[in-house]
Symmetry: D2
Subunit: 320 residues, 4 copies
């Protein structure tokens, strides 16, 4: 059994991780550290866990585990690592933004569809951002075919869980219910990881990713759509996408138009591609907390520890 | 023109009151006092007001108005009145709970269907609570006929605006969306005003009002249903209700089952009555912010100042 | 491996059953019969299944399975059984209302918390209704203690999936979004099964179950609350409930107030009990499609075939 | 009083029109024609109208009115006009797509911000489409400044009422709740009216309007965002927009980011403009049934009949 620890156990991504790991047949959830929740039952904070576990939050870090998931949030992973001596042999999977960019740190970028072999062989893994995952999976086949030659026009809409538990004006129910708004147009923080990945595949790419994110009036999920000029025919385009993802366990290309609830509460990414005039048009959908965060973290763990990738991730879709 | 002031202008009920008064043909909204918003445009706080007014919040109380609406919240109306000398000639309409119970204060209870004549002749008006309004209008015909002889079993569900702007766990979008819960069973704070009204009509009533309120996953509206044993036939029952409300401008009895969105964004109360076995079964619906708060406050103002009751309250329903 | 068939594969309960059985480690989903969907991929109809299965709907009944789930809907199970010869050795789990009442048919009532031993030993199982499950689990400890002595007052609210796929006025999004309504007050069709169960436990019970169901503006879940007069102290009451469900795999009693999303996308039933004055007040919550339908059907299958009850039912909660 | 008739009274746009006209101080709603609803009370079909009117649907066309609103839906306005002789002196305001394109028909395009003078002087008015209204108002200042020189990239999201009352898979509550999807990318039917308007302002414009519409999980409203390369500085851009709409009664430019519920249940269009790099970025929001349909129809009526444009259109925003 893989011994696992979660650092920063009170938030949404930790909650999802706990839900998955408690039922993961190859993992023992050794402890969950949370300074703010210390002493409470996991099920006092994540109230759907009643009946599933009797363990309580701790505030003592212990290095005696095989894998440590960092869920403390952006900026705080670095702080935690600076304060604590994590053994080199322990696998760290970091769910924050702190190590996603190659800036000399030892972390590799944990997008399985791009870096599966690298993930197997490295035990410092930076888990991708949610919007970043959905956008990269939408563009990866084109980037790997070095077929991105101009600006990509992207829009995306995310559920409220993407904003975490913080009580903001924009996460108040009376504001958000039946409401829609744009935020951070052209400058969402996830774009840097997407550029990094595209340039890893197609180093000469210098055009712009024009991305308009929206706050959606739902809790879970991200739907991205985007288009870019292409010389590829529709047939070539479809081939490219089908071949890229033919053997992926979670990322699937479908000839039908897609909708968000096909992926909610799963670790899947669904992708649909069409040709319109001179443009490739791509739609992708993920659950922001699963393929966009905790599900992908477990997928990375499975890959790294040599488990079958689906292990613990056969999640029943929400569907309705 | 009636000169009107709003004290406590930043919250939900003040927002609704401003929306109504700005278009009320007989009212000039003289000023809106808010210590927390002082200096800001009304439309900076109530952002739907863009294009409707250029006035800003003040923090200076001025007695030079005909009517003062108190929207500061429970406990704070008393404080405000203690601190400021409001002329006796100024009409005060208080939207808090502070003066709803007859405990020696000079305020009368502003439920038009019960107290229309009293409202005409008094200028200290305590505006009823939202749940209290919906329950009282459901029971008033029976109480006035002295036909309540046993426990009344009531359930109700309210929109999130009922909880105000406070950022609570239970008003966070990620929690409340698609969620339902019970709160304060048997002891909702509005029950005391309902008992007071029932005993005003039927002073011997000593049975219980068993009321189970729920938090709904919508923003506006209250739906109440309740039942009580009765000797009245269905015909007598319907007569009672139809007669009670035949001339009411906002409270209507219908032979069809009702649903919440029939009243959302209106000052109406819809009521449906059926006989089931030995029980009278009643459903009532209001918009908690309008008939349950600010709309009723304006209705009270209209009554007191001798305006036609509908003035400024021909509100387009949301409908969908 | 248990060979399983689903009859009537196009609807919501069949969809949930497929989602569960595809990942159930002890089951092979042999075929899914649907006359309306014949020839289509399961994932064309249940579109979240992309990537999970390549099987298509059939319209040919085959008796060569160990368990047959009937999901054709009310009235149609009887028709199907009349038309087809199902071997006596095949276990039938019927999700319709057709055999829930003891009227001479060979079916036993598949509520595990009531009838676990009976379910083990019988292979004709009538799966309970969704509201019926939530109400029975709320009342079972009292009924088994023969402690129901007067009318029980119940309210419940259900998600739109409870109405199935039919395109009704009341399932149109523009109507139902942010809307609430009462339906079938005092006469919901599930009450007969509840009376049957209560009288099985406490045969002298002749009082009324006064049940007011509501249509909720969410997709999944049922929240029930109810109260009844009792002589039991709060301590006795809590003991009764805790003891009843102490060893149940899915039904849990909690000292905290509950909310619907604690159980959505799980097979759990959560129950909370309080004493108010002379009344026991109980809240229960289930996912109408899981513990209220397909999840309980699989639980019944697990019991009958001697599998651990949780098998295939470790479902990740939706939580948010 | 203007005598008004509505043809095709059962749908969503007719419902909104009735709600507005019943309280319009300058209009008498003479009759509402609907073959499907004939004989029923308006409030049987539009159930929020209880207490507001006692009139019933008719199936007899009468020419004795000043203005006839056609709400029968796309393709059916032409049919109606072919079958009935509408006097030349009667003003026709058509809410369908039938006459929006200048193809030799006598109808002028009823976008007040573009064609106010034309609307005054013509009594055959084609009311713009909902998406078309939001897009045109977002682009009009640039088009009128002849400042559109390249492709415009647009995304939009619409409420379910945009799909009308039809019971589609995509308007079923269990599908649409908390769901998002793209439809008709690059080829929404409203684009032709937008091109027509842009070329009316800037006849040499030959670039593409790349428009990706989405189905939102809310009932009312459209939020559009779009960008286009521009040489204008941010200051020039803001000036352009502020000047264009400075005197508009319903279309307002704001320096703050906007959100959908600022306009829901109003006839407003809110617009926000920013410069990002070399691009003008514009967000616009309307209520699809009001400024996008029936509200704009009444605005056109007010203009044509010389009433103040706000008459009957001081609608209380939904806000929450």
């Amino acid at each position: 059994m893989i011994q696992a620890a979660i650092i920063g156990g009170g938030g949404f991504t930790a909650g999802e991780l706990i839900r998955i790991l408690l039922h993961h047949p190859g993992v023992n959830l050794n402890y969950v550290l949370s300074e703010s929740q210390v002493g409470k039952l996991l099920s006092d904070t994540h109230q759907d866990l009643i009946g599933e576990t009797g363990i309580t939050f701790t505030d003592e870090y212990s290095p005696e585990v095989d894998v440590t998931f960092l869920c403390k949030g952006h900026g705080k992973s670095k702080q935690f690592i600076d304060k604590h001596t994590i053994p080199e042999s322990t696998t760290i999977i970091d769910l924050s933004r702190d190590f996603r960019l190659k800036d000399g740190n030892p972390y590799i970028y944990g997008l399985p569809e791009l870096n599966r072999e690298v993930i197997k062989n490295n035990n410092r893994i930076a888990n991708p951002g949610c919007f970043a995952t959905a956008i990269q999976l939408a563009l990866l086949p084109l980037a790997q075919a070095r077929a991105l030659h101009s600006d990509v026009h992207l829009q995306g809409i995310t559920g409220a869980t993407g904003a975490g538990q913080a009580k903001l004006d924009t996460t108040h129910f009376s504001w958000r219910n039946n409401n829609i708004s744009v935020y951070k147009p052209f400058k969402h923080q996830h774009l840097t990881e997407v550029y990094q990945t595209i340039q890893q595949c197609q180093d000469e790419y210098r055009s712009e990713l024009c991305f308009i994110p929206m706050r959606g009036d739902f809790t879970r999920g991200i739907l991205i759509s985007g288009y870019v000029k292409t010389d590829l025919s529709e047939g070539e385009l479809l081939n490219l996408y089908h071949e890229q993802y033919a053997h992926e366990p979670f990322t699937h290309v479908t000839e039908h138009n897609i909708h968000l609830k096909q992926v909610v509460n799963t670790n899947k990414c669904l992708i649909h591609v069409e040709k319109h005039g001179d443009k490739a048009f791509i739609i992708s959908a993920i659950d922001n907390l699963l393929k966009g965060a905790s599900g992908q973290a477990v997928q990375n763990m499975n890959i790294h520890f040599g488990l079958e990738e689906h292990t613990g991730l056969h999640l029943k879709p929400m569907a309705y």
